[in-house]
Amino acid sequence: MARYDRAITVFSPDGHLFQVEYALEAVRKGNAAVGVRGTDVVVLGVEKKSTAKLQDSRTVRKIVSLDDHIALVCAGLKADARVLVNRARIECQSHRLTVEDPVTVEYITRYIAGLQQKYTQSGGVRPFGLSTLIVGFDPYTGIPSLYQTDPSGAFSAWKANATGRNSNSMREFLEKNYKETSGQETVKLAIRALLEVVESGGKNIEIAVMTKEHGLRQLEEAEIDAIVAEIEAEKAAAETAKKAPPKET
């Protein structure tokens, strides 16, 4: 095995590209990120590791917009993310310039995934160590979408997905609790999924909501705290409801 994991361009005998798999490991170490698609909104959430006291937290934006109607969050190597996001932003404008149309979510996802794939098939380079969750609205039909890409360059559309640290637990939670929601309910679902793996509180979570009319809006810490409080109250109410019946019998 040690002989097949050095160069990216070498397959192992059992068909693995070890560098790509190691890149996926890097993603698994990155911060937890979640995306949920509603009927009229798409919500992105990401875990915010406690900021150092002397750090200016405004310069650490994890949810970025690629265009007026597309946003992205990633898990993994943040420096690699900067490069990918920059190329994607240029492509969004370039597309507008050449065909006078904004990109569709699928187009820009395909572009980013294509870039990630290119770096799994070249000499002397390593794959990008990040997976992305890309959300947006189709510029003409107004239909919301959520896509995911990974270091291998594969991509697919999702109703809800998670990536990064503990993504399996979040995905399990989403699979159990997903239903078609809209507006605030979608935001709550995303936060509930994140709270499964992240310490509760507004300063540990970053949430952004995208709507067709207003584009991307980052939620304030106070807003997140309020929703978290609502969720905790609902949880507590469900707990007491569960405990009550046994007492009656």
Partner: protein
């Protein structure tokens, strides 16, 4: 010949451009909008070679948008003007663009501004400016009637005076003009001045 002119007033900048698309002796259309909304608070009024005009202004517009996505804040008017001039200058000695530009912008900190950028990459910050044969008439009218800090009504009155002068004194005067304004509330179309209606299929 293409007429573009503009001026700065009290808290706003206004630009006017003719709307004829001409090829030799044929007028293709008389409702061609030559004033592009660059971003929320900037206008580019451009005149010159039609292909270059569209190509160049769209290129500038997309690069200004890219800057905003990369940096989270929009370019200032002076920065956009210098960027535009830089692109013209770089292309000048290889593959020049034949486009003359009046860039009107509004910044929260510095207020309204107007920049004169000609096709050989001259850049001047001005209170009033004009391009084309029409400039002989509109600059003279503005020299006579312009004063600093005009109100929107006074400025529109002056623009109308310029248009009247161009219509009556220029041999191939364009029939229609579009006027756009930029102020603290953003860049938007203000009015059209039409003396020949473009025929529209019923």
């Amino acid at each position: 010949m293409e007429c573009v002119f503009g001026l700065v007033g009290n808290g706003f900048a206004i630009v006017a451009a003719d709307t004829s698309a001409v090829h030799s002796i044929l007028v293709h259309k008389s409702n061609e909008d030559k004033i592009m909304i660059l971003d929320s608070h900037k206008l580019i009024a451009a005149s010159g070679e039609p292909g270059d005009r569209v190509q160049f202004t769209e290129y500038i517009q997309k690069n200004v948008a890219l800057y905003q996505f990369r940096n989270g804040i929009p370019l200032t008017a002076v920065a956009a003007a210098n960027f535009t001039r830089g692109e013209l200058a770089t292309a000048l000695r290889k593959n020049p663009y034949f486009v003359n530009i009046l860039l009107a912008g509004y910044d929260k900190e510095t207020g309204p501004s107007l920049y004169y950028i000609d096709y050989i990459a001259t850049l001047h910050k001005v209170e009033k400016g004009a391009f084309g044969y029409g400039s002989y008439f509109s600059l003279s009218m503005m020299d006579r009637h312009f004063h600093s800090g005009m109100s929107v009504e006074e400025a529109i009155d002056l623009v109308d005076k310029c248009i009247l002068e161009i219509r009556s004194r220029l041999v191939v005067a364009p029939p229609n003009f579009v006027i756009k304004i930029v102020d603290k509330d953003g860049a938007r179309e203000y009015a059209w001045r039409e003396s020949v209606k473009e025929a529209v299929a019923v």
